[in-house]
Symmetry: D2
Subunit: 488 residues, 4 copies
């Protein structure tokens, strides 16, 4: 069923929950008789990293089998599709895309290409900061592009390399690009996982079955397929998996680790470990820090479901205030719904979240959420909680104010749209109509994530969205989206 988007009596509302959006998850299986099926399950577990399209490519002898489409993993693949994806090696990708409307059919991943050295496939989480520049150089020497994804630059550069091995060609290619990437790639005989020198995006290695290997954005996908966690792929590391086993290379100049700290705040699943830190634990500690920094005398701590729950639990434990699920989430909500005309201001949140008056009425409430992006949703939630009878509503945010957009693979609004970019905390409090509003400090966030092991400020994480300190610089004008071709 499709909802026509033209104007009319009812608005079709996209359920914006006003978060930053992870743009991709990658997954690969090497050396397992049910490779495509395990990738399918892996993508299921990584679905939170991208809900707009999904794809799997498998390799069987010299043939690549490809199935990619818009939609959730559960909808994109039929049994017949999986049956066709034969072979013992396969990689997959889930993607979220920023364009208001629909993802282009041309920009589905994994990207496949036919080169003089045979077919290759590549799945990419991240964003290249010199992608447009490199694309222009490649076009100038006669390369033609089929997609608008910067991933295609990597493929072209590798095709031009004179290195003898696939790994060598990919290294030569990646040495020429800058930015954020966790890549899972494959040709007939090899599967390769790479993390950029700063390690912006996570990637882990695991073992599965009898001699098989797994590459995955997060560990939660390993659990699902009962794979054994081996280790994180390190920043700047390339692991090459083939019949000789796993080899590790460090083909790039060493850089300081700059792992995206927002993975801990919101993106990753709580049951994943990233670079050795459990996300659920980190969020609990974030709640502790938040309680330390911004305590409040209240009757009840209520999380904004679902991402706010662990931090709220931590906050409540630390403050010794009862924790209650006072806002109920409707699990049957799709990505859009049809809103009656007259009431357009309210239903966008209420269709998904409902405040339970019995838990809220007459109480001083602490609402714990992970971030405030545009502020529109927070404002609606505060009003809903107040309408359910709350005496006071104190909002506690488990991260610092998000003042800057991300250029390393996350979908964020422009700076202008970020509430915190142009408003003081007091102005924000007024806007969302809360009785008080506090954000975790950046120090508090670092301490919480690193488990009190004090890594030092700006040591090991990218915090550009909070600080504006971008670890990788951009050629002039390059943050503008590249849209040479549109596909309807």
């Amino acid at each position: 069923m499709t909802l026509p988007l033209t104007s009319g009596k009812y608005a079709v509302q996209t359920l914006i929950d006003d978060h930053f959006r992870e743009e991709c998850g990658v997954f690969g299986i090497y050396g397992h008789p049910e490779a495509a099926n395990l990738v399918y399950l892996g993508l299921y577990a990584l679905q939170h990293r991208g809900q707009e399209s999904a794809g799997i490519v498998s390799v069987e002898d010299q043939f690549l089998h490809v199935h990619r489409s818009k939609g959730l993993v559960a909808d994109v693949f039929s049994r017949k599709d999986l049956n066709r994806l034969k072979g013992e090696n396969a990689i997959g990708h889930v993607r979220y895309s920023t364009s208001g409307g629909s993802a282009s059919q041309r920009n589905l991943q994994p990207l496949v290409a036919d080169t003089i050295n045979g077919g290759i496939a590549i799945a990419h989480n991240g964003n290249l900061s010199n992608g447009v520049e490199m694309r222009r150089q490649l076009e100038a020497r006669g390369s033609i592009f089929q997609s608008t994804m910067d991933t295609e630059v990597v493929v072209h550069l590798a095709a031009l390399s004179r290195e003898k091995t696939y790994a060598g060609r990919l290294m030569e290619s990646l040495r020429q690009v800058r930015g954020a990437y966790a890549i899972v790639a494959m040709n007939q005989h090899n599967m390769i996982g790479v993390r950029d020198p700063h390690g912006f995006r996570p990637l882990v290695l695991g073992k599965v079955g009898d001699g098989g290997y797994v590459l995955s954005s997060e560990t939660c996908a390993l659990n699902l397929i009962e794979a054994e966690f081996v280790r994180d792929v390190e920043p700047g590391e390339m692991v090459v998996i083939n019949k000789d086993g796993v080899k590790s290379y460090f083909p790039f100049e060493k850089e300081e680790r700059q792992l995206c700290i927002f993975e801990y705040v919101y993106f990753a699943r709580p049951d994943s470990d990233i670079d050795g830190v459990n996300v659920y634990d980190a969020r609990k500690r974030i709640g502790f820090s938040l309680a330390d920094e911004h305590p409040v005398n209240a009757d009840v701590v209520i999380p904004v479901p679902d991402s706010g729950v662990p931090a709220a639990l931590g906050f409540a434990q630390k403050c010794n205030i009862p924790f209650e699920l006072g806002i109920i989430r409707n699990h049957y909500v799709g990505r859009t719904f049809i809103e009656p005309h007259q009431s357009i201001r309210h239903f966008g949140v209420k269709i998904k979240l409902n405040a339970n008056p019995e838990v809220i009425r007459g109480r001083n409430v602490v609402l714990v959420d992970d971030s405030i992006v545009r502020g529109t949703t927070s404002r609606k939630i505060v009003k809903m909680v107040r309408a359910a009878g709350a005496k006071e509503v104190h909002v506690r945010i488990s991260s610092p104010p998000t003042t800057h957009p991300c250029y390393y693979g996350i979908d964020t609004p422009t700076r202008k749209e970020l509430l915190a970019a142009s408003h003081s905390i007091e102005e924000m409090r007024k806007y969302i109509t809360a009785d008080s509003l506090s954000f975790l400090t950046l120090d508090g966030l670092y301490n919480a994530v690193s488990g009190g092991k004090s890594p030092g400020k700006c040591n090991g994480f990218c915090d550009a969205c909070f600080s504006g300190s971008y670890p990788v610089l951009f050629p002039q004008g390059q943050s503008a989206p590249l849209t040479l071709l549109k596909e309807s």
Copy 2:
């Protein structure tokens, strides 16, 4: 996309979570210019009561507009569909059906019919205990049936009535049937809500907009559309809404209230109030009682998401053991998924739930769930938690053992399939491989639900699934499913 169900390399797994299944939700709007749209939103909020099909009927002058289809509310209705459902009065229905495969196209609700007195529509939550018997009598006098739903019996009986008013005809019809029903019905000028004399199923009355009325299975749907809760429709009460306002009738012999107690345990949404008791609160108190009756010395209390959460919170608070979300639910799971062949025993649960080892490892764990039906899922969850490193796994169930099937509108397995019907608690414990297993007593459940106001045992609730005490008796053989016609 449809998944072929025939055999092959991969099994298509239905994600059975081994619960009793609510079979329907009903909703109606009288006297609002956007009646169908509000019903659409109401059904969204009642989606947990039935996910197999949805339908709305509106009335405009003497015309009924109908749209019904298999699927979730979000998929069944397009804006174009809602545009066609003109009129200020509308009723809707969500349905769950037991058949392993697909619901018959003929059994979609609301049911509509054309009678000498004009078109009528009816939406029904419940099950008639003398439905087959009455159907046979009606057929014998020449009535023909289009569906296999017992609701159609009510329509035929009303069509035969010589009463002058629609309400009168419906009363005469309902006086001839027995069993469980919460009905929302409608003709050109009237909207009617009725609850059977025992009040097995819930139904509430609200106000919306400027002089409009709402009927709904649960109050959570009133919140969504910002309707005002007026009161529960009482057991045995018929409310008739028309241009003269709301009139109340009690056309049946008075019976003792027998509200389904399982609504509090599992069916209803926690943010609903049923017969004056908030469901979330009741579940918290259930957790308290469970802790009182079956305390355990453990390190952490973990709910089985999502239904087990409030009881687990209550249990943790009472026992003063930390509460943690140690099992993460994947929110992107569809109703089926495709399972690799070799691993068929495990993924059925893991695709949906994943234990977070960081929270569990080395700890004594209390798992709180709401019920054990077949036991297969509980067994898988216990094993998953143990595999995540739990030292001990103690299972606490927030209801008594379910030893008997329900014949009043809930989809339950046959008695043979109910684990508790033929196994002692110790045998069940062994089967699910837990270190200890305890169920809440029926007394404990009554006390918790009634908030300590001690209504007396067997006073006011149907507990047949726990006790085998069926409040309404059945003609011989009537619990067998009625399948005169099949539709492929």
Copy 3:
């Protein structure tokens, strides 16, 4: 793919070819292991009688299996659907419906119902003239209706009968209705074919396989499944097929045969025989008669494809003028297409038909078509032929002017819309911009159809659409469409 019908830049054009529309085809197989599959093929061959929806019902023991949907036969049934339609007896239906938009889901045929005597299914081609009257009587005694089809009246009347056999109950039912019907019906043990006493609609009996029987609207469907033609079911005859073979009954008062003469002009497929007359032959003779009555001195005879071809061949042979396919039909045209805004007057015909200038340029052309209904299409075709270079365009119509609507199962415009109802032939000629325009006389048509065997005027055919002589009278106002319920 659906084309939205709301306004916008482009109009979605329905390809009206300005013909009367046959409303249904019926087909049944008794006693064959692949009953449903043969019905599927039979409906394929009868698709020209109705393109809006299709359905098959099979019987297996006491169960009816049903599959019905909007769409062409090729789209409605998948192999899985046919696999489900088990049993050795099955009936099917193709349907055309008049409503500009979409057929109601409730009005799909074959109609099925559950009665005290078991499940029955019925497929009906025709229209009852006292359908609404009988419906009102049935409703008054308490019957409720699920569809707006008059076929349902027949089912209700049969359900009320006290006769012992299914055939007896159907006879008693049909004795109470008047109008046009060719019916194929079925219960667990019997298959029944009936033609109304006037025999408005055709129906034939055949043999298939090893002891199996076929009922079909036309003989062309027998050819496809390699069934043997046995005989036409006679007007007023009911054939009852069961394990005892075929029995024939004449349960109605004898009436004069009034077979729809338009079956020969346009409706039936040319490779069918109807009541002993081959349709292709009849059309050839119609061409002869047309040439005798309205000869023309021209260079080339060109049919309007496809229905005009045999008459044009006959016309050309008789006049000894070369016959050429000067208008080419595009076989890939769907039922609708999207028309650029500026050109809306022309493409409606040109998308489907294209005049070949090479055949037409500089010539005097005779265009042979079967009828003129609204005249809009004829006008466009004449203009197109002239634009292709014709010197003169002489239009010859192989039937008399259609001055009256049909109430016996054919979809015709209202009298007001029929060009011939209010225009002289000279006025019509001017409107369609032809150099000359002639229609076959009614006598000429009778002679041609009966093969020169001079049946006498008004002997044996219904010609109401040409003459206004309706063989069966209507209760007052009954020709108005019955629309108590709408379904969107």
Copy 4:
């Protein structure tokens, strides 16, 4: 609806009509406000040249809008799709592909690419004989390929050119390839039509609207949109259309014209003119020649619909034998149908064609068809005609025996599958069970097509499928299909 292709009780039959298959049609509109809509209509008229997929690309400023999909034109484009295809220039493509299953999503046309000089789009009818060779050279220098279509070679070669203009780059590219092509290509400012030096495939230029231009595979598409025919694009000519009007170039060495003679026999629509010869007229003359060469004393001439009709008309006129439509074609047949198991030998033809016994019974019949490829269908048709009562069946084929496959853009079976490659005419006659079988001679075909203007044998046409004289030679092994990548 999709029909699963796995084995089971019923076979899903593809309706093979045993013809050679045209592989593509191309169409372009330059300088018209409704460019995409006119292309849509043009593709409708060219649908007979390819029914597997369709696509349109429009250019609006520097943006290309793309919509391509598998399916018929009527199904591929919705109004919303066309609305998105903004701009005054657009090109389109319909495609037939040989692979037994489904066309790869990657091989949809028009092909689009992003180059240093901006976006380009290209639609190609034909086949390059050095395509694989050039592809290997390009890959060796680092080019990567997204599709397996040889059209992509042309795009890469053009991207490597240092010429200043798009036309110049395309010329440089095409000078490096050999084989058959009619190309319509486009960048932001230019539309280009090219025909290979031999002119294997047709291409015409027309005018439309106020200063707009059309390029089309056939003239029939010009008629539909009421465009004015200007002239055929000549073999070896490139026409470049931009704001300066139309310019003509002859960038290649002059070659003898080798137009595919089968366009006249079967591929083209009868209402098209190709290189100045009307196809319908040519087919009539083919019928005359066939009658001269192979007269027969018979009662009736019957065409195999639809392609055999004009030749049969010519044959009948020349022999003075009555022409009758004795085989009726079912116009509602889809591309596949579901066949009952037991009867698999027959229905493949009968579902589509039915012999009318009334026309055939007791007669000596001449069947006129355009070609015999594998012979299976001819055999079934002869048997069907005989079963309808023919005394004798004489088959006359309006082309010489097809003994060799085509490598210039037509889908033909391998040589082994061509009946005529390994059987004498007498053996073929026996196989198809005809009383006599005759083929038109190659001389007769040349004479008929050139209208008696005696062009001399092998002068001006490619007749390789009849003679084995391939005008363009192939590198060794190049006729093997290129399948480096598969897409499921």
